[in-house]
């Protein structure tokens, strides 16, 4: 039934994640176009499985599973149940949140070269989680009130079995104490989910944040 639906063009942000990046005119390095995960100095270990075709119908069981997974994950992140969250992540994960920059329309890139907010593997994520579990991570004691609002979920088949590619939008609201105003982070995400021993796990995530200058005191959170 979805074949009757018009195919919307991919958003610029999503295109930047998934489509090989076009080489900007005058690019002195002449590098071969690559995805953001591939371009990262720390992404060498990451899975290169990509989406195939149009988004799956919303009643497709694979879409329902992926959506369910994301809602469950959002709940874990709101609750700061980070050990449980870490269990949902593969050993070869690449968790990347590039720094967005304002560039001219024709520049061909809108992320900082060689710099990200998060450019993580399982080890660095596990250290971040371990820190929150100490009694001395002051930035989250007292804890923030967090709400990850999830929307715009689209699921795609992947070019390898037991994988799905899932796009989503997330809007995180974070509030601390009683005096300061809360702050927001809005981002688009592209996730690679992998079926491991009958459970979906996160194998790659690229977070395209919509701020070039973050309006949050730190990113002691996950998106």
């Amino acid at each position: 039934m979805s074949t009757d639906l018009p195919v919307a063009p991919a958003s610029a942000a999503v295109a930047a994640i998934t489509a090989p990046e076009s080489v900007p005119a005058g690019n002195p390095t002449g590098t071969v176009p690559r995805t953001l995960s591939e371009q990262s100095a720390l992404g060498g270990h990451a899975s290169r499985v990509q989406r195939v075709g149009r988004s799956l119908p919303f009643d497709d069981p694979r879409h329902l599973q992926a959506h369910h997974w994301l809602v469950d994950e959002a709940w874990l992140l709101d609750a700061q149940a980070y050990e449980d969250w870490l269990d949902l992540i593969t050993e070869d994960v690449h968790y990347l949140m590039p720094v967005r920059v304002t560039t001219a329309l024709g520049a061909g890139y809108d992320t900082a070269r060689g710099m990200a907010h998060f450019d993580e593997d399982k080890y660095s994520l596990s250290r971040r989680v371990a820190r929150f579990l100490t009694e001395h991570a002051w930035t989250e004691d007292p804890p923030s009130r967090l709400r990850h609002h999830l929307s715009n979920v689209r699921t795609f088949q992947a070019d390898a079995p037991d994988h799905l590619v899932v796009e989503s939008a997330t809007l995180l609201f974070r509030n601390r104490g009683d005096v300061r105003e809360g702050s927001f982070v809005s981002a688009g995400r592209e996730d690679l989910l992998r079926l491991v021993d009958g459970r979906w796990k996160l194998a790659r995530r690229v977070i395209m944040v919509d701020d070039s200058v973050m309006r949050m005191q730190n990113l002691a959170i996950f998106l």
């Binding site: 005058g26 710099m115 907010h117 971040r128 820190r131 002051w138 070039s212 973050m214 005191q217 730190n218």
Partner: protein
């Protein structure tokens, strides 16, 4: 404006009126007297490596296009069209041979010279009405570089950058000149924190005392082996010229062993030995001190640490350069760059970047806890009670101003300036004394450019013309208005 003599006097004796961390009048004074004359970091040559590369950076509200022109010269143009004042460049990074104002289409070469002026003949009568030749975007009043670091000063009469930095240059080399090629700068990550800009600068300048408390968690998780209380007070703090910083005391060993201890591979150590002076090498090899955090007045800081980056006992060093860019009395935009020696092996560069991300910057595990403290401090400093409280910033000196610990002698510390081991607030006091010096000094009136005047150029109260006044002679106001 309130007389701040009392505040300045208190600061000079090491008693800090708490409200200076959230006070609009103080901030207005800082804009007028600190940032109007200091050398302010805006970027590094490696960020604009090719002709036409540019980044747009601010000094307070003033936006500058920092660019490398076609001749390879580094320039900083005030980002305002000479015609109606529109921003001529609205991207923050890119490569351009020209900048064209989107409002009426005036365009400029990347060296600042005007090249395009639509309907020049019809609107202005050509050169007879508006002399296009020689017109250029307003250059920053002063620009200079050291080790590739680009600084601007809003004061055309500022002392030369090297004189301003003074003996701090000795320490700057550790961060930015580990080989003949110097550093590559990546980033910055940018984020805004509801904290006063001075707090970060003071903290990085000399606050070894906070490390064991604030950063307990990163030691507990095995990320960092150093900042235990005992370790930290064995380090030395130093102040020299425009800046000062902290160090860690290294375990026994020779120069090579000590540099390897913090994770430098031998090939990088060999280049350091070629690059650094005997005294720079002795601070590490003989004295056993390794630089860590530092600040240059007013708002530039550095950090050098060496965490674990994988399930292994090996550590990897990283360098970050950061600027505490003031937005208001209670808000700061942090610009945090990762710096790495350009000649370092690629694998080192990648792991050093990983070390940086884990420790500092918008997601860094050290930085997360720092900012929480600074935001809270700033918030608390806003009220009337903060005006009754003088914070004690006299650590390291007795009531009669004698030192708790004497300075290190020349045999124990081979760097310039004054250094001492143990916890103290000498550096925070030194930084705020520079600040007090500036706050006391009335500003000189800046030259103004008379757009639409009779073409005599700009003159200040003393009758001096600005450096570029002879090149700027804009047409009469009527002609501009009709364009």
């Amino acid at each position: 404006m309130t007389d701040q003599t009392g505040v300045i006097g208190d600061v000079r004796r090491g008693m800090i009126p708490a409200h200076v961390y959230n006070d609009r009048e103080i901030f207005e004074l800082e804009k007028e007297r600190v940032f109007s004359r200091a050398w302010v970091f805006v970027g590094h040559e490696s960020e604009i490596a090719q002709p036409g590369d540019y980044v747009v950076r601010r000094v307070l509200e003033d936006s500058f296009i920092v660019t490398r022109d076609e001749q390879g010269e580094i320039r900083a143009h005030f980002n305002m069209c000479l015609h109606r004042g529109m921003q001529v460049c609205r991207a923050e990074v890119g490569n351009a041979s020209h900048f064209r104002c989107p409002y009426h289409g005036w365009s400029y070469r990347n060296d600042g010279r005007i090249v395009g002026l639509p309907f020049h003949k019809d609107a202005y009568g050509g050169e007879a009405g508006f002399k296009r030749k020689g017109q250029r975007l307003l250059p920053a009043p002063n620009l200079a570089t050291y080790n590739g670091m680009i600084f601007l000063s809003m004061d055309p009469d500022a002392p030369p950058l090297e004189e301003f930095l003074g003996d701090f240059r000795f320490y700057l080399d550790y961060y930015t000149k580990q080989s003949a090629s110097g550093i590559e700068l990546r980033g910055p990550q940018r984020w805004r924190v509801k904290a006063n800009w001075k707090i970060g600068a003071e903290n990085f300048a000399g606050d070894m005392y906070h490390t064991p408390q604030t950063h307990t968690s990163v030691v507990e998780i095995g990320l960092f082996r150093e900042p235990k209380a005992e370790k930290r007070k064995d380090g030395a703090t130093y102040w020299a010229g425009a800046g000062g910083g902290t160090t860690y005391k290294l375990p026994e060993g020779d120069l090579d062993e000590r540099l390897r201890y913090v994770g430098y591979p031998q090939e990088m150590i060999e280049r350091m030995k070629e690059q650094w002076s005997d005294d720079q090498l002795r601070v590490i090899g003989d004295d056993g001190f390794m630089i860590s955090a530092a600040s240059v007045y007013p708002n530039l800081s550095f950090v050098h640490n060496w965490p674990r980056v994988a399930e292994s006992d090996d550590v990897l060093p990283f360098v970050s350069i950061r600027q505490w860019q003031p937005i208001s009395e209670d808000e700061t935009e942090v610009l945090s760059w990762f710096a790495v020696d350009a000649e370092a092996p690629e694998e080192f560069k990648a792991l050093s970047y990983k070390a940086y991300l884990m420790c500092f910057g918008s997601t860094g595990m050290f930085e997360q806890d720092d900012v929480e403290n600074w935001v809270s401090l700033t918030n608390t400093a806003a009220g009337s009670m903060a005006r009754r409280l003088l914070l004690n910033s006299r650590m390291g000196i007795l009531e009669d101003d004698r030192p708790v610990v004497p300075p290190l002698g020349p045999d124990a510390f081979h760097g310039p300036g004054e250094a001492r081991t143990g916890y103290s607030e000498y550096n925070q006091r030194a930084l705020l004394n520079h600040w007090a010096d500036d706050l006391e000094k009335p500003p000189s009136k800046a030259a103004t450019l008379e757009v639409g005047g009779p073409g005599e150029g700009a003159q200040d109260a003393a009758g001096r013309t600005s450096a570029n006044a002879d090149q700027i002679s804009l047409p009469a106001g009527e002609a501009v208005a009709q364009a």
